[in-house]
Point group: D2
Chain length 252, copies 4
């Protein structure tokens, strides 16, 4: 039975809406309005009608779907192929305190928050106020805001020392902040970066060598989709060929 | 401060041991013995000596490292590039009940258990007793045994109905069990499979079409490592080119 | 100095035309007409004006450009990444007689003809008359028609026996014709196939096993483009992820 | 019928020898000697015995096989996946004069010579005498020495001006020679480079911008092998993940 506070998706086959249910709230669509109350208490798979009579099926909204289709994107998002690997590679687990900057559209934040909840927290630093606002809305849609602390601030400003169990940095010139980040991490903590160009990767690797990091790795993840047709199985014609290079290291 | 019950890694630069600390236990190495008591209470980064005087550094053991370097492998493991994506794609989160079969060496079980803890559980079905035993040892090494229920049984035998929030199947001929699996899942639950050959993928896709599944996808994940040298950045010469195809679908 | 009979490209920066020069002929563009005579005798890099005054630069037209941008495409073409590898893998060289079927848009025919000229020949069998006509036009544009024999016929019909030094087959169900093809090849001849789906590859491999072929291989070629910006070097965002599987074998 | 001067391969299933047939010459193997005279005049598929009675089958030797299995390698060779694409991308055709440097083990030289024969030529510049000697032997094995001019000299030394129809450069620091190379090319000529690291690519791109080149591209070619088993079709477990980046450009 669907409860208030849950995030669900509604689809009429053509359109798809993601909403977090709140009693008495109204979802406005170009096909008419839907009262959240008509969804709360129903089961997944059931249908609901707009005041104009258009039917929408109520479906579960997985984190994957919320990130890929539900959130507002003001920036390039970090795709699940990358955010999933980041989460495992950083060893995120219930209870971890994780440094993040910038927040982007919150896609990675959601995946990481899910990995450290219920007792851990993502500490997300973002200097761009617009990005921060959109990301907060997105994180609320995914029901993860209790596991994120937001800081409208730059990585140049002071960070708590020897505090984070892990960190992930997605800013344009991370080499400026390595010392600050290094100090904020606990010994043994894993740290990751995403960078789109090879020049940035080289520049960052140079900087990392000045600190007591070890097991530095650079990887790239490629996701290839196939057409799911049993008797004509083949890869899709086109694919996303690049999102970014991932750099991982550890504080000794 | 390192506590009893924690899993740590010890390295002398050449060898690497993963142990879960238990008071009064002894780790035997070809370089001499180490008493767990000498590690408990220390901090990461400190050194410990064997009774023959060889020094080992005590390092944190991330789930990633435990899976890649710590666990005993009797079967092909599911690599983090795949298990991470599986976890996000299935939408695993604290509290989920997840069907798994077979257990393999427990590599995926560990990653999934980490994603559903503390209040969720992996229900792992394995008919091969040897695999099951090794997997249990591996899962204990990773400190995840409280979040896994083990069943020494086949997918042909009865499963709880309408019970699981998600499922992942890694057996040779999964098409035999689709009906049983389908019934065990809740509506909206995500289900995944790993299969190494294209023929198996085709055969499974055919079977899935007989049931009320939707949003079926087939993907493949490629991980490319780079040499992390700032002024000679380039991909590694060789890579793992194939682990398996991942198939995802959902119960309507 | 540019001569009659040569193929050149003309570009005004926005549009690109490929023409094979013939005295007194006129190229009509939406920016006005260009007389071939105005190009013959000029040098590459020079400009020519339409009768409406629009300027076009005369550039060399490489086979690569003719195939990628010059030929009319009625069918999926075989891209240079594949046709180049096919040519080397089949060992094509001056003097070879090569079986081809179907002709598609002639993209592969052009590359293979270039590899066997001046004394070799491509024997191209195509049952679809429209495809054949377009392909002939394309092959003429590339100046390769002297090295191709065209047959408006199916692979079911009789082929010369023990005649071809190599062969390449790009038809939907090549397994029907393997015996006929086998007999047409000389001992030691290399044979290749392109097939888009895994099911077709499996079906063909099965059939090949019935004949005295050896060193059968299946490969796939991926071409990844980078943005050629020195200080922001990175792969393009999207790529062609699949054209087809290439199967190679040899007659013993 | 096999003639003197031809290159053939001999195999006993385990070992493989590539020889260019010369009357009265003897091939010494650890399984005994074979007189070339015993092969000349035979047909492919026939068997020949060593003086110790070991049987070897006589097979055709394709350029592909000579390069992959026949030539001596003192340096990293350029693989057919790359050399094939280079040949098509440079538009090589009968009659072309092609600049090459360095010669490496001659693998690319062989493929390019095959593409420009009978009336074209590769002009290969190599400063390392040992590499040059080995490459010449390899090129002779492939029967291509009539189509190659060898120069024991550096790219710093003078080159003929406005002379080459195309060029391919595989040296460590090609940026030092761009002016010299530029001047040696005809207008419209295509030029290629192979470089293993991203830093080299960036450095070269910077240099190319100083000259009147256009249509500069950077690509990478990945070749994926599949196990050719009809009912268990799947990619090989491991693959060569990187040979080098290919850079192509044209002189305006």
């Amino acid at each position: 039975m669907i409860r208030e506070g849950e995030t669900v998706q509604l689809t009429n086959g053509k359109n798809r809406f993601f909403i977090r249910l709140k009693r008495d709230e109204i979802l406005g669509t170009h096909r008419g309005n839907i009262n959240h109350n008509d969804i709360i208490g129903k089961n997944f798979g059931y249908k609901v009608k707009t005041h104009l009579g258009e039917e929408f099926v109520i479906l579960k909204a997985s984190l994957y779907e919320i990130i890929m289709y539900g959130i507002k994107r003001k920036t390039q998002i970090i795709y699940p192929k990358d955010s999933a690997y980041i989460t495992v590679k950083l060893g995120l687990t219930d209870g971890y305190r994780v440094l993040e900057s910038g927040i982007g559209s919150g896609g990675l934040t959601i995946v990481m928050a899910n990995a450290v909840k219920p007792s851990g927290k993502i500490y997300s630093y973002e200097r761009n106020e617009t990005h921060l606002k959109i990301a907060i809305d997105n994180i609320k849609l995914a029901n993860m805001e209790s596991y994120v602390e937001f800081f409208h601030q730059d990585l140049e400003e002071s960070l708590p020392e020897n505090f984070f169990d892990a960190g992930f940095i997605d800013v344009r010139e991370p080499w400026h902040y390595v010392e600050n980040i290094y100090n904020s991490l606990k010994i043994g903590a894993s740290l990751g970066f995403l960078l789109p160009t090879t020049n940035q990767v080289s520049r960052l690797l140079e900087e990392l060598q000045k600190f007591n990091f070890y097991q530095t790795e650079v990887v790239e993840i490629l996701l290839r989709h196939y057409k799911p047709v049993p008797d004509r199985l083949r890869p899709e014609d086109r694919m996303i060929a690049h999102t970014g290079y991932l750099i991982f290291t550890k504080k000794l």
